[in-house]
């Protein structure tokens, strides 16, 4: 066993941290989140060109880094600590992993590495809550290719995306389709999310797709892709949680009431200790999930669902108490911690609530 990072991973962490401190500081990031477009093209280009980060999962011969998932975990944690709003997870992790596993897709993979593509993953359906597999979105074969019909709810990054990855039943088999957001029959109802990103409900009406549109086929392949996304979201959460803990420790040491720092009160100290313990246990759960991504399906799914429950509860506990211990300041937009709290709140259920993952874990445990 070995839970240490390589020198390369440590250097990458430093490089990502430095780049984001220079280019995605609190006020710059807030400005982007509140802008009309909701993302920064220059930041995105920098991630591709200065750091080579967008090609993390792109094969080397297509301009990428062919990195492993532990390296991706290191990157995601730093993106979380910086509250990046751009669709890195959807593009460099999910998009690249889906296309790298498919036949073809070289052009899209190159575009990802170069910063010319932004992906969104449309999986959840209004009829199915957090079910990971499609139910009512259907692709039918016809003479020219496929016809796609259905609705996806709260598709993160859809309004900023150049490519949509859409789960659908293809002749009753779950599959993942690559769809252009501008294609005829695709309609978006867009809105911001509470964490400053963009999302949309997306409706597909008789959308014509080429015969090559399914990039991934089969329930296990879709589960695997969503497990990767969930594990990487967990890694992002670690950066969010760490920042909330650090900020709250700093605030309570600084804030004086009744003639002393409020951090000197035992009730505050114990709360902070509980927050710290949640963070450490969430970190451990994320390590297990990331290191199980290539394991047998049942083991992988159990590790990822266990992680999501642990991370969701940590997000809630640390987030709520970070606000509480900031007192009135915790109810303003001025302090960074409230922005981290909103991101943590979204992470709690982005890829399924704790209840969903507990149930999935229990079902898998019974099957073992």
């Amino acid at each position: 066993m070995d839970f240490t990072f390589t020198d390369d991973q440590r250097q990458l962490r430093d490089a990502v941290q430095g780049y984001l401190q220079r280019n995605n500081g609190f006020s710059a990031r807030t400005k982007v989140a509140r802008s009309e477009s909701g993302w920064s093209e220059s930041l995105w280009r920098g991630l591709a060109e200065e750091l080579g980060l967008l090609g993390l999962f792109v094969p080397g011969d297509l301009g990428g880094a062919s990195a492993d998932s532990v390296t991706a975990m290191v990157v995601m944690e730093e993106l979380g600590a910086s509250l990046l709003v751009e669709p890195f997870l959807e593009t460099a992790i999910v998009g690249a992993a889906a296309l790298a596993a498919s036949e073809g897709g070289e052009a899209e993979l190159r575009a990802i590495a170069q910063g010319d593509a932004r992906f969104a993953l449309a999986w959840a359906e209004p009829e199915a809550r957090f079910d990971r597999l499609p139910r009512a979105t259907v692709a039918r074969r016809d003479a020219d290719g496929w016809r796609l019909d259905g609705t996806k709810s709260v598709v993160t990054a859809a309004p900023v995306a150049t490519h949509l990855l859409v789960t659908a039943l293809a002749d009753a088999e779950p599959a993942l389709f690559l769809v252009e957001p501008g294609a005829a029959g695709v309609a978006l109802q867009g809105f911001p999310t509470i964490d400053g990103r963009r999302a949309a409900d997306v409706t597909f009406t008789q959308v014509r797709l080429p015969i090559s549109a399914p990039v991934v086929r089969g329930a296990e392949a879709i589960e695997r892709l969503l497990d990767l996304a969930t594990a990487m979201l967990g890694a992002e959460a670690l950066g969010v949680l760490r920042r909330m803990l650090d900020d709250t420790i700093a605030f309570t040491r600084d804030r004086r009431q009744f003639g002393q720092p409020i951090a000197s009160f035992q009730v505050i100290q114990h709360r902070l200790v509980d927050m710290y313990m949640r963070l450490e246990l969430a970190t451990s759960a994320v390590y297990r999930a990331v290191l199980s991504l290539d394991a047998a399906p049942a083991e992988r799914m159990r590790a990822v669902s266990a992680m999501q429950v642990t991370v969701a509860e940590a997000c809630r506990f640390v987030g709520q108490n970070a606000i509480q211990l900031h007192g009135g300041m915790g109810m303003t937009d001025e302090v960074a911690v409230t922005h981290y709290f909103r991101r943590a709140t979204v992470i709690e259920s982005e890829f399924g609530s704790a209840d969903y993952h507990r149930r999935r874990f229990a079902a898998l445990s019974r099957a073992v």
Partner: protein
């Protein structure tokens, strides 16, 4: 002992329901039932207050001679429950529930004659100036200075978390007129015309993107001494009186029950993870049941407190226990609401509700994705984090009970 309502109380309930049915417009109902936080839109709340004023029902807790209703505590409880159930917005509490009692208990005859009728009619819309950057939980350490200038006080300082100060034309303030051995001494309770020279109101934006709270900067504001409530230097007594005035008349359970009813109804309309309705989901329905059980216990606790207060008994731990338990349940119910919202828990759509102040974060102008109940969930979840912080944090409330227990 008897747990049932009396025939008179049931008849009163019918009267209240009839009044609400007759007077509430759809717009008013929307402004009460689709609130994104505990704060109603000031304009809508004032429109409702004018209707109540015509009926004489603005200030149920006030003595009749000042324009109160003369209702028993039970009637006030029924009124509150029916008002919330009908979707009427709450009347702004800063005037009628906070400043009003201070004037009734400690004000001069001139102050009573001038301010109380204008408070009832809504001509004066009030805000509070208590907290300061260095004085939150430790309120008595407040520094906002009021210098004696003959028949005036000259006030200079900064106040925080002033709800709806941007909409208010009057404010009640705690200011320091002297420094002494105890910080509670030398504090004065002062009524200030918010249009006075030297007052600047700066909006505070909440994590839900709403401007409900404000900072108030006072720079050499001249306030007539006639606006001091009680004696100069005796403001702490007035502030404590104000807090105790509504004892026995405050209740959380009615609102919590109605919130749970709405969530349960909504959960019957949305899918669960296993294909059925969410309300059939064992984990979700267990969580709703637990919340209901906890609200039921709180409800009887509140009835007991009401009975005690009616008999002139005021157990000291009661307000703190109610505040802790009420706000914790309020927050837990917003968590259930978030669960019911599913993926829409992430969507920022304040336009689906009625905000208590201007919305400062970008959002769609009209229309919204998903069900309206889902759109309200994240607004309420984020806003309700304030409940365990405001009006004395729940940590401070526990300190109070600990002292009462002799710890």
């Amino acid at each position: 002992m008897d747990i049932a309502w009396s025939a008179d109380e049931l008849a009163f309930c019918e009267e209240v329901r009839q009044f609400l049915a007759d007077t509430l417009t759809d717009e008013l109902r929307a402004s009460g039932s689709r609130m994104t936080s505990v704060y109603a839109d000031p304009g809508k709340a004032l429109a409702w207050q004018r209707i109540l004023h015509a009926k004489g029902w603005v200030a149920p807790a006030w003595p009749v001679e000042h324009g109160g209703t003369g209702w028993t505590l039970a009637q006030r409880y029924i009124w509150q429950r029916e008002r919330i159930a009908a979707g009427a917005p709450p009347v702004s509490p800063m005037g009628v529930q906070m400043c009003g009692p201070a004037i009734i208990g400690h004000g001069s005859d001139e102050q009573k004659a001038y301010f109380l009728p204008r408070m009832l009619s809504g001509e004066h819309f009030w805000c509070q100036g208590y907290s300061e950057p260095g004085s939150g939980s430790d309120l008595a350490s407040l520094q906002c200075r009021a210098e004696d200038a003959g028949d005036h006080l000259v006030v200079t300082g900064q106040k925080l978390w002033s709800t709806h100060a941007h909409a208010a034309n009057w404010g009640f303030f705690l200011v320091r007129t002297a420094t002494g051995d105890r910080p509670q001494k030398g504090i004065t309770f002062l009524l200030i015309d918010m249009t006075s020279l030297g007052i600047t109101v700066v909006p505070t934006v909440s994590p839900a993107g709403e401007n409900i709270q404000n900072e108030i900067f006072l720079d050499g504001v001249r306030v007539p001494k006639a606006n001091v409530v009680g004696r100069i230097g005796d403001g702490w007594t007035v502030a404590k009186y104000l807090l105790e005035f509504e004892r026995g008349g405050v209740a959380y359970a009615p609102g919590l029950q109605i919130d749970l009813d709405e969530i349960e109804r909504f959960a019957g309309e949305v899918p669960g993870d296993d294909g059925g309705r969410l309300i059939d989901d064992a984990a979700f329905s267990d969580a709703v049941a637990q919340a209901r059980i906890d609200v039921m216990a709180l409800e009887i606790f509140e009835f007991r407190a009401m009975g005690d207060a009616g008999a002139g008994r005021f157990p000291h731990a009661v307000p703190s226990l109610m505040k802790i338990r009420g706000t914790e349940l309020q927050q837990r119910i917003t968590e259930l609401h978030m669960l019911a919202a599913g993926r829409y828990a992430a969507a920022y759509q304040p336009q689906a509700g009625v905000s208590g102040g201007p919305v400062r974060f970008p959002h769609a102008a009209d229309g919204f994705a998903g069900p309206r109940e889902a759109a309200l969930a994240p607004m309420r979840y984020v806003s309700e984090r304030a409940a365990s912080i405001y009006a004395g944090t729940n940590e401070i409330q526990r300190n109070i009970i600990a002292k009462i227990l002799g710890l």
